[in-house]
């Protein structure tokens, strides 16, 4: 394993206990992600992508194996290491905004929980609104926002505590193709600005190839790593890159990796 890994999974398995027995969501997943890397995770619905992110965020404990953030294990005999988890920001599959708060209140809530003053909170919210392209909407209520804007709020909120690791669970899954492309371009700029390590879950192979340095393909449940495809293009990429034959080659390779498993 790489010694300078920012995030690392060592033979991680996760089983959920449910009413009718256990559900194995992930099996023996090992992955190490270096600082500043952008990793995309793809796989069929229900293959354990969200589970993987929740494990990385320290929201759930692995059944077996170990999750490490900068060489610190996230879990110590059943207790979460909050110090290590502090560096992580997470964008959830549903934006999960609080409808009783305005845009800026949603964004600065994490900071307020840390005991920051109102002034600090407002400044941070303004800065983040600017970064994610929501300037002027600070006082809006979340119900007045479009789907894309809601995701922007969720991203800004995840960035509030200046995480060095950003986990995103299908952040653009509910958006139309055009908005999605624009958000992808903007996301690249944002990531470059904050200089974070990113793990992005998506169900779009092209989105994964367009954004990531490495794409991890998971098998259907229980999720195992099928393939890891490095993407050579330098970041930040332009949309034209999608016309490049190497881009299509990478997409094809991943599609095959996912399909082979499906035919079994």
């Amino acid at each position: 394993m790489n010694a300078s890994a920012e995030l690392a999974l060592h033979e991680v398995s996760k089983e959920y206990l449910s009413a009718n027995g256990t559900v194995q969501a992930l099996r023996d997943v090992s992955l190490s992600i270096v600082r500043g890397e952008f990793v995309a995770i793809i796989g069929a619905s229900g293959c354990g992508k969200t589970t993987l992110l929740r494990l990385l965020a320290g929201l759930i404990a692995p059944t077996r194996g170990e999750v490490k953030v900068r060489e610190h294990s996230l879990w110590h005999s059943g207790k979460r290491d909050t110090g290590a988890a502090e560096m992580i920001g997470m964008v959830f599959q549903d934006a999960n905004l609080f409808p009783w708060y305005t845009v800026e209140e949603n964004i600065y809530l994490p900071l307020m929980l840390q005991g920051a003053t109102r002034q600090q909170c407002l400044e941070k919210a303004r800065e983040l609104c600017h970064l994610v392209g929501l300037a002027g909407f600070e006082r809006s209520h979340t119900a007045e926002l479009s789907g894309g804007m809601r995701q922007r709020v969720a991203i800004a909120r995840a960035l509030c505590l200046k995480p060095s690791i950003l986990l995103m669970d299908e952040p653009f899954g509910s958006l139309d193709a055009m908005t999605r492309e624009r958000m992808n371009l903007e996301l690249q700029t944002m990531i470059a600005t904050i200089n974070a390590t990113v793990v992005l879950v998506t169900h779009s192979i092209t989105e994964a190839v367009f954004l990531a340095d490495r794409v991890v393909a998971l098998s259907p449940r229980p999720g195992e790593i099928r393939a890891i495809q490095p993407i050579e293009f330098p970041r930040e990429r332009k949309l034209e890159v999608q016309a490049d034959p190497r881009f299509n080659l990478a997409v094809q390779a991943l599609r095959q990796a996912l399909c082979v498993e499906g035919e079994k």
């Binding site: 965020a57 502090e86 549903d94 999960n96 609080f98 409808p99 809530l109 209520h141 119900a143």
Partner: protein, 259 residues
């Protein structure tokens, strides 16, 4: 351009129309079906008696004040107790398990049978009515708060956990707000129950209040007066319901139901 609906221009118009239609049907049916004024007094007689009632010396200062006070005090007690109990039950499942049987018993017992006991314990004054009103409106409020606490979105909870929020922050920033719409729904039912509690209490005992006036009118078979009291009571409940609605607009303007 589409034609704006008439109700959009004058919001009160449909309501006024309904009231006018009711009065007309009331009057016409008396004329047509030859209904005895002892059964259904004509509207003009009722409004005449209402006018007299409103100018009676003790009407406002004694009867209305008494009933209103019983309702509000009972409702307020129920609100405090219902909110506290609901939150405690929601947060401490062992407490819920311990006390639920007792509360369930109190909930299913025909509560009207408690009234004579309350009267014997607390006398013929306002106390028995306040407590009775409180008991009636306690359950909708408590049960709704409990339901609200248990319906907090798992997604919201996970967001808070991702931000390392403690139990108190979780309550203060998420659960409290998630419960508010349920609390309001409980209050909307509760205020009506509190009115019922106070009036029924006055039916059974005492010498003050709108319920008492209704019983007296009934005793002297004074139908117009009974109707007049009924109208006052209706308007009073209506005003109280509007009050809860105002609270709703202040507390949960963000809720989907307010759009």
């Amino acid at each position: 351009m589409t034609k704006p609906e008439i109700g959009a221009i004058y919001p009160a118009l449909p309501a006024i129309f309904t009231v006018a239609a009711t009065l007309i049907i009331w009057k016409i049916s008396i004329l047509f079906f030859d209904i005895s004024p002892f059964i259904l007094p004509p509207p003009e007689t009722v409004f005449e008696r209402l006018w007299i009632l409103l100018r009676e010396r003790n009407f406002w200062s004694v009867h209305v004040v008494t009933t209103l006070w019983e309702i509000l005090a009972g409702f307020f007690l129920a609100l405090v107790a219902g909110l506290t109990t609901g939150v405690l039950f929601g947060k401490l499942p062992w407490l819920e398990r311990a006390l639920k049987p007792a509360l369930l018993t109190l909930q299913v017992v025909p509560k009207i049978t408690l009234l004579p006991i309350l009267i014997i314990w607390t006398g013929f004054g306002m106390t028995s009515k306040i407590i009775f009103a409180a008991i009636l409106s306690f359950f909708p409020i408590m049960l709704n708060v409990l339901l609200g606490l248990k319906s907090v979105s798992p997604g919201h909870q996970e967001v808070m956990r991702a931000f390392h929020a403690g139990r108190w922050s979780m309550f203060r920033f998420v659960e409290l707000y998630s419960v508010l719409p349920y609390l309001i729904a409980g209050m909307e039912v509760g205020i009506v129950f509190a009115v019922i509690g106070a009036i029924v209490g006055e039916y059974l005992s005492g010498s003050e209040g709108l319920g008492y006036l209704a019983v007296i009118a009934l005793g002297s078979l004074d139908m117009p007066r009974l109707f007049a009291v009924l109208i006052v009571l209706t308007l009073l409940s209506y005003a109280l319901a509007m009050l809860v609605h105002c609270v709703k607009q202040v507390l949960i303007p963000w809720h989907d139901s307010m759009r």
